[in-house]
Symmetry: C2
Subunit: 373 residues, 2 copies
């Protein structure tokens, strides 16, 4: 196939049928294909226009899918024997991974059979396969992984990126993360003009590493072209802030912050459970407050915001937690569905490419591309 990565972003393949088709890697998660198929069933029950292409060993998958009423009609199976494990090194998978379910799931997006791919597998391998098969968007140096973060704001979620695609990021990379994160917030969260902040150890202008001060200047100069506002440096305590929508950082810091936040939420959840079973009055109280506590649990449950999105590629990939259960997989599929439906990928491509072209002069030509929200 000549000229394979110069394919221009056109209408999503599903446009005609009105159906949203998601490519799903059944294998490689800690809980096996049962959890993935159960998550698909949950998402299908909720979203009437979602269909699946499911990649993995056909006999086993056919049996699992048949266990959920109505799921087989909405699922195409794509047989593959190979499985990428959590121990496989990305470089090995790139060389030898062509027969795996992960590779096959990405291939469906490359071939535009599906709009978005979802996998619970090895993050490094998934990023490596996505990079070589989907290729980077024109103008992007480093792709990034974006996650959602519970927020006090009306949007209920903030976006943070990069949370682990790469452990390094220079000022130029951070600028691109700002552009990609703003596009994601516009399309994934429906925000007209997202507010972008840069993660640092203090909000004062003179603080932090040199590349952060350089990135600050470049991001501030790009607000018109990128269609966002820049709110300055933010701190770790601002991740749930109502005053920012997109938090930009390097993948090392972002990964530590994400896992620290998740670990803290899990710890407090355990302490809460202990407290509410520690005495008879506490148990009675917990019973009475049961519905309110259930809503709280759902609000802070990391599984509910499950799904890192790979940004900066010719195609959208959602990485679900390796340990995701059916609830977690369903959340990742809902996110994939929302992104596919918004046409996010095509708008992102247009915006990043034209921002890269316009450079720092802030030329407005990209608004003519129809990259408005």
């Amino acid at each position: 196939m000549p000229n394979q990565h110069a394919r221009t972003p056109d209408a999503p393949v599903d446009g005609a049928s009105g159906r949203i088709r998601i490519s799903v890697d059944a294998m490689g998660g800690d809980r096996g294909p049962q959890a993935v198929v159960a998550g698909m069933a949950a998402a299908a029950a909720e979203l009437s226009d979602i269909d699946f292409i499911l990649h993995g060993p056909e006999p086993e998958l056919a049996r699992l899918v048949a266990g959920h009423r109505g799921l087989a009609e909405r699922t195409r199976l794509r047989h593959c024997e190979g499985v990428v494990t959590m121990q496989d090194k990305p470089s090995q998978v790139v060389r030898n991974g062509a027969g795996t379910s992960m590779w096959s799931a990405i291939e469906s997006v490359r071939e535009r059979e599906a709009t978005v791919a979802v996998s619970c597998g090895n993050t490094g391998a998934l990023m490596a396969v996505s990079m070589i098969r989907l290729r980077k968007l024109p103008g992007v140096n480093r792709p990034a992984i974006a996650c959602l973060w519970p927020s006090r704001g009306t949007g209920r979620f903030n976006v943070m990126l990069d949370v682990g695609a790469d452990i390094r990021a220079d000022a130029e990379d951070l600028l691109q993360y700002a552009l990609m994160g703003a596009a994601y917030a516009r399309n994934g969260l429906g925000l007209t003009r997202p507010r972008v902040g840069l993660l640092n150890v203090g909000t004062e202008e003179h603080k932090g590493r040199a590349e952060l001060r350089e990135a600050q200047d470049r991001i501030a100069a790009m607000t018109e072209t990128g269609g966002f506002d820049y709110v300055g440096f933010v701190e770790g305590s601002d991740l749930p802030s109502a005053d920012v929508d997109v938090i930009v950082t390097d993948g090392f810091t972002g990964n530590v912050a994400l896992k620290t936040g998740e670990g803290t939420a899990r710890l407090i959840g355990e302490f809460l459970r202990e407290a509410l079973t520690s005495s008879l009055p506490a148990r009675l109280g917990a019973l009475l407050a049961g519905r309110a506590l259930g809503r709280l649990r759902a609000r802070i449950d990391p599984r509910r915001v499950n799904g890192g999105v790979f940004l900066g590629l010719n195609g959208t990939v959602v990485k679900s937690h390796g340990a995701a259960d059916a609830t977690g997989v369903a959340a990742a599929l809902r996110l994939a569905h929302a992104l596919a439906k918004s046409g996010y990928q095509d708008r992102l491509a247009a915006r990043v490419a034209s921002a890269a072209l316009s450079g720092q002069d802030g030329a407005r030509q990209e608004t003519a591309h129809g990259a408005s929200p």
Copy 2:
């Protein structure tokens, strides 16, 4: 005074009287000297052997101290007019700060009138003044700030460092942080052989930045000399783990992680309050479970573990949160008291100096210094 920073660590000045004397900066916190003096009164009510030297404007402080019964008898006032604000740059304070309450509070430790200094003021300025007045311990390149982190373990707290003394750390610095953190855990938390982990984006050997892999090898080679165990790479989700006591990282990552954890705890606290006031049954339930919920609140209250400790200097300095109220100040004073009482500073000096001397050959001569727990 000749040879001022070669003073050898001898017995704490308070040894003879059996009293623990803490030097307190009354000014520079967000809530002013009222909160500081109220915190002193709370600590004094609990700790019968604590005394204070209080630095700030004498007339105002005398009035505030007189408002708490019995506090005046245990407090010496040290008049100073100047105040370091949160906006002052560290370099300015080093040049012009000699008349400030912060400077004076550090001076009391330098003169060995007090064992530990406590301040709610500007962190950067406090570190800069501490560096030039107390000087670094022999063998230390970069001092660090250590914080306590709620843990699942029996110790109830883990130590993390650096959380913001410096935004850079190379492999040698990370090794020194491991030694200093282990000494702190031994003396501040009473652990015989602390388990040290290195913060990274994954636990696999090949992950992370090059300096982390180098630091890993050097820390692993120093376990005998340093009197600790090395447990390998840990992730953000492991900060409350029962399988590690001391988490080593650079000051940028550590600061983001600390503030992310605090911010997450605060967010969940707000969500919990909302949930428990959202309906009549929830309110009744909260009433019944009131005592258990109160214990939970105390357990996750960031004010309770208030106090970053500056490690690697000839003298101990506890940095309280700028926004600390009386509860927060009291927690910082309790921590200062515990460290003074353990003779921690003198043991740390002996251990770090001899680890630096012994280098990587793992010579055991330092155990002859009596640096055992």
